[in-house]
């Protein structure tokens, strides 16, 4: 398998490696599509550890993380959850969008995320000492607005924090060139568009265009799709549903890529 492509934005690779070595848990903050998940995958490969990803949601219970009893023809047996697996065998346990999980669920992480590095399992009475290669990584997107959704300070303060943002223009362009095979001029234009749209964040649109969307647009264009249409479908339409915002974004795209009247 080819190596996962990841281009460092600043010091995050060194920091992550140092944290892995020192057995420190890591918290990653950042807007959607800025490369959080890709970063973890790349780091997992780099460090030679498996990555157990759990996408959190508000019905996620502690049993979904730790494990539960199941039944087969011989009766019941214990099945490890992803967290327990990582703790036993070593590897990176990556809890994506941790903010979505209920607060009482995330409390099981506490004993793992400090110096103890143990996971007690109530159901079986087992207390597992974490494998030396075990590493806990959680991520969340601070952009969502809901008063009741936030991380408990007692959870938050157990992690080394890494803040991700959309990459700088040059880096983003390089990522685009690598990921989507577009030519240099198109990549530059896409990055310009992204830079401009990101200035609307918070005031006119909820969240700005992600690197992921740019790559989608780039892929469509390199497949021979009309650039104007590609941007409209991959970037503009997914950002807003409001008429006036769409109109202006359309204008912006048409300034960069000529609108082909016969499409």
């Amino acid at each position: 398998m080819s190596k996962t492509y990841y281009l460092a934005q600043s010091n995050e690779v060194e920091l992550f490696k140092a944290a892995a070595e020192m057995d420190l848990p890591v918290l990653i903050k950042g807007p959607t599509g800025c490369g959080k998940t890709r970063f973890i995958e790349a780091m997992g490969e780099e460090l030679g550890r498996d990555v157990y990803t759990v996408v959190c949601h508000d019905d996620l219970s502690a049993a979904d993380l730790v494990g539960r009893h199941l039944i087969d023809e011989n009766g019941t047996y214990w099945q490890d959850g992803p967290l327990t697996k990582a703790v036993r065998n070593g590897g990176i346990c990556y809890l994506d969008e941790i903010i979505e999980a209920r607060k009482d669920t995330t409390v099981v992480l506490h004993s793992l995320a400090d110096y103890r590095r143990v996971l007690p399992i109530d159901r079986t009475g087992e207390v597992i000492q974490a494998h030396p290669d075990f590493m806990l990584v959680v991520s969340y997107n601070p952009g969502y607005q809901n008063v009741l959704k936030g991380m408990k300070p007692s959870t938050k303060q157990r992690f080394i924090s890494l803040t991700f943002n959309y990459p700088k223009a040059e880096i983003e362009k390089e990522v685009l060139l690598k990921e989507s095979d577009v030519d240099d001029a198109t990549a530059q234009k896409l990055v310009d568009i992204a830079g401009e749209i990101r200035q609307l964040t918070d005031t006119d649109i909820q969240e700005a265009v992600s690197t992921r969307l740019l790559i989608y647009a780039g892929k469509l264009i390199s497949k021979g799709f009309d650039p104007y249409q590609a941007c409209m479908h991959s970037i503009v339409e997914s950002l807003s549903d409001e008429e006036d915002v769409l109109e202006v974004l359309e204008k912006l795209i048409s300034l960069h890529f000529e609108k082909n009247s016969n499409v």
Binding site: T76, N146, V147, L148, Q199, T203, L252, E258
Partner: protein
């Protein structure tokens, strides 16, 4: 007979007018694009281009330019006045409409072009050419769309207006007279004020060149001569007479307020009669035109000050720093209160909202391992079955869902400035709706058992920001609180930043995990002093940022329909709600709260 003759004469006149217009104007009236129709989009575009979000877009007034006019233009009084695009610290000023080009798209594009230009230029009368050329090159290089537009448009303009020939062969050596001869509609010009200051323009000269009255004006802004004055100094406009004499006039004149409030047509009507409209630098704020301290009539309500007040900071965006202890907060409470029961007109709304709340399963908490309950928890059951010695193990494998009160603290901050006295309909004032909302909302929160407090604010400059306690977090919601809500009276102005900071301080002391600051307002922050326009907006913005830093969520509900632009700047896109029908405020307020905390 005479009647026919008159009609005939009129139609001749119309033909003549049409002829002149076509000959001189060279405008494409059918393709005219108006600023007001696309102002919203332009605003977003301005942000897109990286413009400062605190800036406003506004319509410019007419500028007087000495041009060489053709005989026909002189005959029809055209060609001397122009709408130029310019900007200052507060706003970008754009012409009210464009009809230079034969298609709507191009006329519209001219607006977008000017917005983009304004972001990349900082024009004074010294560097007009250099700045505009630089921005033009930048834009045409970066955007193929602009490139195409610019070259087509300039070709077209040159072909129509030979005076604009200079656009083509422009460099530093180009004769300035040539450029000043006829303004380029695709350029950004310095503000009239800076030109006047630089050239020491003789104002009386301008007066002499005033044009004759015109018979009729179909579009108002087409015919007026504009004059811009520098009224930023506070000393200007001093009224040199004894206030008493003014008072006596007030006493004699019967002012029918309801009549006066239908101002729109009247203003337009009077404007049509004027030859010259002078536009000041200040934004509309009547209070700053006539400053007087009236002795307030003794009121039946008795406001009891709590302490001597304390000082808090204010943000000055011009200095980019805080003014330390600049604003004085005066907490007070109304002590002369008659407790009231829930008014019967609100009973129906309250009952309806409480019924809705019953349906909500707010934040269900799952309780596992119960001996009885709503449903079997499969995990507990398996655990039970997997147990070696079942008889020794407890048979608790049920789950129930339980409603729990939320760990929420909400502070409601209501704007009770004088502007809330204006009416939504003939009978209902904004303040009435705000009062009703506060009562309905309190009933709802009481039902939800959420913690809440209510404060109102109004201000008289930085010296007096009245911060009135209606209900603090410890007060029990009862008839007395309802009485306090009922006794709210509109007064003074809206120094929003100070009130927000004070509220944040109170919320910060609450132990709850979730804190919400709900602001009810009817318009922009403003006060008698310079707390108006951008200064007020920037200070409020700063205050909001401080609130967020404290882990408090701010949310604004407003009945100001034009509010969207500045509100999204202040609170972020999802941080506010505009209530179109003011009378629905009581219901909307509660719904917004539930949505925020669901």
């Amino acid at each position: 007979m005479l009647h026919y003759w008159l009609e005939f004469e009129e139609s001749i006149g119309k033909v003549w007018d049409k002829y002149l217009n076509r000959k001189v104007h060279k405008f494409h009236e059918e393709q005219r694009v108006h600023f007001t129709d696309i102002s919203k989009s332009l605003n977003i575009f301005h942000h897109l281009m990286g413009g400062e979000k605190g800036k406003d877009l506004q319509v410019t007034d007419k500028r007087y330019v000495d041009t060489s006019r053709t005989a026909l233009q002189k005959l029809s009084f055209l060609g001397k006045e122009f709408f130029l695009t310019w900007q200052d610290d507060d706003s970008i000023y754009l012409p009210a409409s464009f009809a230079y080009f034969p298609t709507k798209e191009e006329n519209e594009m001219l607006y977008y072009w000017l917005i983009a230009m304004s972001v990349h230029t900082n024009v004074t009368d010294k560097n007009l050419i250099e700045q505009n050329q630089k921005a033009m090159h930048y834009l045409t290089n970066k955007y193929s769309g602009f490139e195409k537009f610019y070259f087509n448009a300039s070709e077209y303009l040159i072909s129509k207006y030979e005076q604009l020939g200079f656009i083509k062969s422009l460099d530093e050596k180009t004769d300035e007279d040539l450029i000043n001869d006829y303004p380029n509609p695709m350029w950004i010009y310095p503000s009239a004020l800076t030109i006047n200051a630089a050239n020491n323009l003789n104002e009386s000269d301008e007066d002499l060149t005033r044009e004759e009255d015109k018979d009729e004006s179909d579009v108002l802004e087409m015919k007026k001569q504009a004059n811009q004055i520098d009224d930023k100094h506070e000393t200007d406009g001093f009224l040199a007479f004894l206030p008493e004499s003014l008072m006596s006039i007030f006493e004699q004149v019967n002012v029918d307020r309801m009549e006066d409030d239908t101002f729109d047509e009247n203003a337009l009507y009077h404007a049509e009669d004027l030859d010259e409209i002078t536009i000041g630098q200040k934004q509309a704020n009547l209070s700053s035109r006539i400053k007087m301290d009236f002795d307030l009539q003794p009121d039946k309500t008795l406001m009891y000050p709590i302490g001597k007040g304390h000082y808090i900071d204010e943000w000055d965006y011009l200095k980019n720093d805080y003014l330390i202890n600049y604003v004085r907060i005066l907490p007070q409470v109304n002590t002369n209160i008659i407790p009231i029961e829930l008014p019967s007109r609100l009973k129906k709304t309250v009952r309806k909202i409480q019924a809705e709340l019953d349906l909500l399963k707010l934040d269900r908490i799952k309780n596992d391992n119960l001996p009885y309950g709503d449903e079997i928890n499969i995990d507990s059951w398996i655990e039970y079955s997997s147990h070696q010695n079942k008889s020794m193990h407890h048979q608790k494998f049920y789950t129930t869902f339980e409603k729990k009160t939320r760990d929420m603290a909400t502070l409601i901050l209501a704007d009770v400035s004088l502007s809330t006295e204006s009416g939504i309909t003939q009978e209902v004032r904004i303040i009435d709706v705000i009062k009703d909302s506060l009562i309905v909302f309190s009933e709802a929160l009481e039902k939800l058992q959420d913690k809440f407090a209510i404060y109102t604010f109004s201000s008289l400059q930085n010296k007096k920001v009245y911060f009135t306690i209606i209900k603090n977090f410890k007060n029990k919601y009862d008839d007395l609180i309802r009485g306090r809500i009922d006794s709210i009276k509109p007064e003074y102005y809206t120094r929003m930043g100070a009130a927000i900071r004070e509220s944040a301080k109170i919320l910060d002391k609450q132990q709850s995990a979730n804190k919400l600051l709900l602001i009810i307002s009817d318009g922009k922050p403003n006060d008698e002093d310079r707390y108006d326009g951008r200064y007020g907006i920037e200070d409020t913005k700063k205050a909001i940022q401080e609130v967020k830093k404290k882990g408090i969520t701010p949310f604004c509900i407003t009945v100001d329909l034009d509010a969207k632009e500045y509100l999204s700047y202040l609170f972020g896109r999802d941080g506010f709600a505009v209530v179109r029908d003011g009378q629905k405020l009581p219901k909307v307020l509660t719904e917004v709260y539930i949505n925020l905390t669901k």
